[in-house]
């Protein structure tokens, strides 16, 4: 399905990962899966459907997080800021402006994009890992602003009246379809961006700003667009989560735990791939169902696993599977080491 192609650029060796033209069979198969999943609420019970809402919202968030990192080298530990903003924008549009909550989700995404723009121009002034802390500061600022506004119920949060009025028969399938749609959107956006020309160039040189600039890739603009997509996407998911849970609280909506889940999912599955977050979300759910009752131990296990994988198997589970089954996928992970070797 993929081919490896070695290329040389100014004596620097690197490999470019190239996906084949649309694999029709897989496309059709994927479509069938989506249709089958879309019909799910008609034959499955509410508890299972609700669980799948959790699953798809997390999968979507993980894809967006992974897109930012894999496509533009942006490591964010502040996506909870956009999740929270999405939740509160939904409340604003559905409860204050009386727009249908399912339509308000779109406004929440727009709200996320609008906030992402100034946020990006601030955090991009920071370099490397400090950029990550910068994204966290932005999330903290958003949380504190929301928590200090009396109308939103402050720290104790607020109930989404419009979502409550929908009734279970409408709300559960509706939020399910939105959750599924958000996951499909996240995967589709990631797929098309990674396939695009800029995507290929950026993937090959994502850890080398200088090489990217010399290749005429406007790194700053690409990063900006990616950050905005990430912000809009996470705000959209935040809005869906708000409908799903009926209640928004600053401490929960803006919780750093979101980032913990996203990092765990992406890292375990495999950063920079589409398959990785899917595998990661499944593993995360298995872990959550079995160990979340142990409270703190659950987070300790998540943290330790993320550390182990990052240090000793940075390609994640998907990378491992690929190496065992199809050697040609591996150059995607290997090229970064090639670049370092060439610099020595």
């Amino acid at each position: 399905m993929t081919a490896a192609k070695a290329a040389t650029l100014e004596n620097k060796r690197f490999t470019v990962w190239v996906a084949n033209r649309t694999n029709l069979a897989i496309g059709i198969f994927g479509l069938l899966i989506v249709v089958a999943l879309a019909l799910f609420p008609t034959y499955a019970g509410t508890p299972l459907t609700r669980r799948l809402v959790d699953f798809f919202t997390l999968l979507a968030l993980a894809q967006f997080w992974n897109l930012m990192l894999g496509y533009a080298g942006l490591i964010s530990v502040g996506q909870q800021g956009f999740i929270g903003i999405g939740s509160y924008t939904l409340w604003l549009f559905s409860d204050i402006m009386h727009i249908n909550p399912f339509i308000s989700v779109i406004f929440a995404a727009i709200g996320g994009a609008i906030i992402a723009f100034p946020a990006a121009s601030l955090v991009f002034k920071l370099k490397g890992g400090y950029l990550a802390i910068g994204t966290w500061v932005i999330a903290e600022i958003l949380r504190l602003i929301v928590a200090n506004i009396k109308r939103t119920g402050g720290g104790s949060g607020i109930t989404i009246q419009a979502a409550t009025k929908l009734g279970t028969t409408v709300r559960v399938p509706g939020s399910y379809w939105w959750a599924l749609a958000s996951a499909v959107i996240a995967i589709a956006v990631t797929y098309f961006l990674l396939r695009s020309r800029t995507g290929l160039a950026l993937k090959a040189i994502r850890d080398n700003d200088l090489a990217a600039e010399s290749n005429g890739v406007n790194l700053w603009r690409t990063k900006l667009y990616t950050y905005i997509i990430g912000g809009a996407g996470c705000a959209m998911v935040g809005a869906i989560v708000a409908i799903h849970l009926l209640r928004v609280q600053p401490a929960a909506a803006f919780s750093i735990n979101w980032t913990g889940y996203l990092i765990f999912i992406s890292v375990i599955g495999g950063v920079g791939t589409i398959e990785g977050p899917i595998i990661g979300t499944i593993i995360y759910f298995v872990l959550r169902e079995t160990t979340s009752k142990y409270g703190e131990w659950y987070f300790i296990v998540l943290g330790i696993l993320a550390i182990i994988v990052t240090v000793w198997s940075p390609a994640g589970i998907y990378g491992y599977v690929v190496r065992k089954t199809n050697f040609f996928l591996f150059p995607l992970q290997r090229k970064l080491r090639m670049l370092e070797g060439a610099k020595e």
């Binding site: 004596n11 060796r13 290997r334 080491r337 090639m338 070797g341 060439a342 020595e344």
Partner: protein, 232 residues
């Protein structure tokens, strides 16, 4: 026993092989020059001696002891020090501090900051200046001085003449006999054949990861060297 010995050394960058079955010996007290075009493997060989790269196959012996898995910093302790490609002086440190870093391992020997300033008087007025502000020639003198501060038995010099004016290159090569007199063996890598041939006791010409030609400069003709250099 030779000071440095390569035994069938193969070095790779990932799956790209850079050195093929390299065999040669450097005797104590000589100047051994490696010449060759860009990408011929000379610098790779030097990095392997310094410890930045590890051979996949083969051995490197220093004074009879295998060193190919010894960490870089320990090689300085046993007497191998480097003048790296691009000089790599510490830009935020002063000239004097750069020299002191060279003596980090406290090896005993003739070289101290005083003797370095004697060898390169141009550094004396610059002692308290940040190395970042130095000219190319001054940085190169500093890089050599810094490497000598380790009191090495073997000094590795990578492209010391690169980007320098001929008069500066001459001044640097003029210092080589002083190094030899102080018991330091020199392994030098150069693209510029002209200068190095005048001082070298032994020349090895690299081509595509192999030694194409080896011998004393006096025994080699210009035609032989040109042929080996360009691989024609």
């Amino acid at each position: 026993m030779s000071l440095l010995e390569f035994e069938n050394v193969n070095v790779y960058y990932e799956d790209f092989q850079a050195l093929y079955d390299l065999n040669f010996k450097v005797e104590e007290g000589e100047i051994f020059a490696c010449i060759g075009a860009n990408g011929a493997g000379k610098s790779t060989m030097l990095k392997t001696v310094a410890g930045a790269l590890v051979p996949r196959r083969g051995r490197i012996l220093f004074d009879g002891q295998p060193i190919d898995h010894m960490p870089t910093y320990k090689r300085v302790e046993i007497g191998i020090s480097s003048v790296p490609e691009g000089r790599r002086v510490f830009p935020s440190l002063t000239v004097h501090e750069n020299l002191l870093i060279g003596a980090y391992r406290n090896r005993k020997g003739p070289w101290t900051t005083d003797t370095i300033y004697e060898l390169f008087p141009l550094l004396v007025p610059l002692r308290k200046r940040q190395a970042a502000g130095l000219s190319g020639g001054e940085q190169q003198a500093l890089a050599i001085g810094r490497a000598l501060m380790a009191n090495p038995r073997l000094i590795l010099m990578d492209e010391v003449s690169l980007g320098l004016a001929p008069v500066v290159i001459k001044r640097i090569y003029d210092a080589f006999p002083t190094l030899l007199n102080n018991g330091t063996t020199i392994l030098v890598v150069e693209q510029d054949v002209q200068h190095v041939m005048t001082v070298a006791g032994h020349v090895a010409c690299f081509l595509e990861g192999r030694i194409k030609l080896e011998g004393r400069p006096s025994e080699l003709t210009n035609e032989q060297i040109t042929a080996a250099y360009f691989g024609v």
